[in-house]
Symmetry: C2
Subunit: 329 residues, 2 copies
């Protein structure tokens, strides 16, 4: 196991490098929350949050399904469009309410497969797909899904509130398989009963309502360390991670494991006194969890393995999204 | 002026014919609202509605911006993505809360233009774009926007509750121009101050809260009569429309006028005793409004002009969306 090789493979992974244009897009929308004055979180988190009164926040997220996934397996793309959106709301500590989609298809067969995947996703996760828009005549196939959820302002989990001294918990459901048509998807839900899958989403609501976290994100396209990197960037802090404390399925190479998109996986930060309860709640729903590191003041992400310590990201130089997030408290 | 030519041009307009695949897509999702049991309106309306307690409904809508519009004018596509979504919430009698977008671009220049259009739309309509997703590397340019709003269950405006004997009010802001790069867009907002544009959205909330309507939709891609057709289909009724009662800008051919997508335009149904108040509210914000017809039991849309009476749609045979809507009351 070679730390340099692991670091290289993570740093150059397209799941991370393609996040860069976020900065450019967001900079064009600088003043957006002046118009209503109710925005609580805008760009840079798993979902955005808007005050709707009575201490409640409306959560909205949107995910475009990566074209590669649509090409590799339209059914799985449809299924994943539900999975990723529901996880975005879970990662904020919220309750998912409903989804809408925009489906662009060039042929009926793709349309049918995507919709079957969506249907199975809806039944697995228990969140309705209530509407949308169909482009029946596009020269390409694409799927965008948006989800809305609700959360209390005093319970929301953000990406931007990790503080030096916080412990980093990484939780990943190890009971899965690499999806045959898209091996970077760590499929942890297809073979599971809806009850357990829904409980994995629900546990984040419970952890949030108990205020056990300082920050958190669901592990998505950038993989475990890329997702952590985005959290660090949003919080304007750094971290040290002990590689071997990251929960991992035996028999999969680290280079692959760290780039996988798990069906149920979270990067969370907690005060040291809350780590035990948090881990115990996650493990009650089959999400294997460890304290894998600590938040530090220095704006770097260090990875350690045995006696080695290397820099994965230097946030003074390396930008993932290029934006920092701030809640409007 | 030839009624047959007008009917032919409306019937064969792509803005209407491309709604057909909705049926096929929806049929694949038949059972979606079984999963949460909270869905109030799913497919077939301008926005979907989900119960969130205390008599409140969450509204969610999604619109994919037509590829043609993206090609013709990316700035205008960005601007319109805000306009169409805000109108979807207005058409339900709701308050728009916030939007998210998924932007797929193949080049930076298009990205910049789309985002500038979004920014100007946000400033005009006063609804924040709070987040989203960027695909920086797609072989095509596409923009999907989703909006969330709130409305009381006892005030929501649906498409499916028009009843025989109701009057049909058509309201269109005549102070506009055909957009130079997309002449089927009747641009009524670019040149107006945000105050008036926002008041045109707000007036629908007031009309809804006063319970003046039985049904309503905003006029969108299918044009005035195509939109009315979708409302009739959703309500399982028919109508007679007097062509010359439809508010119209002088100097534009009927064949064009009826296919235009206006920046502020609504097709509404009311009990006869409420028409006057409804029209007076719409006209207070510069939306010229007339009683242009009546809902009938027979499932046809008839158009009359002088002594002529012709059938535009026979809903026993012609389907626009192919679905009927039912609120889960």
């Amino acid at each position: 196991m070679d730390l340099d090789s692991i670091i290289e493979s993570v740093k150059n992974y397209e799941g991370i490098t393609r996040k860069k244009p976020i900065k450019e897009v967001v900079s064009l929308l600088n003043d957006v929350d002046k118009v209503s004055g109710k925005t609580y979180i805008s760009f840079g988190d798993d979902a955005s949050a808007i005050r709707i009164g009575d201490g409640k926040l409306l959560l909205i997220a949107a995910d475009g399904i990566w074209g590669r996934l649509m090409e590799a397996d339209p059914y799985w793309a449809g299924y994943c469009s539900v999975l990723v959106n529901v996880n975005d709301i879970a990662a904020m500590g919220g309750t998912p309410i409903g989804m809408v989609n925009v489906l662009s298809v060039k042929d009926k067969e793709t349309c049918r497969k995507v919709m079957e995947g969506i249907k199975d996703g809806v039944e697995k996760f228990g969140v309705p797909m209530v509407g949308g828009h169909v482009h029946p005549d596009t020269p390409y196939n694409a799927l965008d899904v948006s989800i809305t959820g609700l959360v209390s302002e005093d319970a929301i989990i953000t990406s931007c509130d990790a503080k030096p001294g916080d412990k980093i918990i990484i939780g990943i459901d190890l009971d899965g398989r690499q999806h045959p048509s898209f091996p970077l998807n760590w499929d942890t839900t297809s073979h599971k009963k809806p009850e357990l899958v829904r409980a994995q989403i629900k546990i984040m609501e419970e952890i949030a309502s108990k205020k056990l976290l300082t920050a958190g994100k669901d592990i998505s396209n950038p993989g475990t360390l890329g997702t952590l990197g985005m959290l660090l960037e949003a919080s304007n802090v750094g971290a040290t991670i002990e590689l071997e404390k990251i929960p991992k399925k035996k028999g999969i190479k680290w280079e692959d494991w760290l780039r996988l998109y798990p069906g149920a996986g979270f990067v969370l930060t907690t005060k040291p006194e809350n780590t035990r309860e948090c881990i115990s709640l996650l493990e009650s729903v089959n999400i294997t969890s460890n304290v894998a590191g600590e938040i530090i003041n220095e704006k770097k992400l260090y990875i350690t393995l045995d006696d080695e310590k290397k820099t994965l990201f230097d946030f003074e130089k390396d930008l993932i999204m290029g934006i920092q997030e701030e809640t409007q408290k």
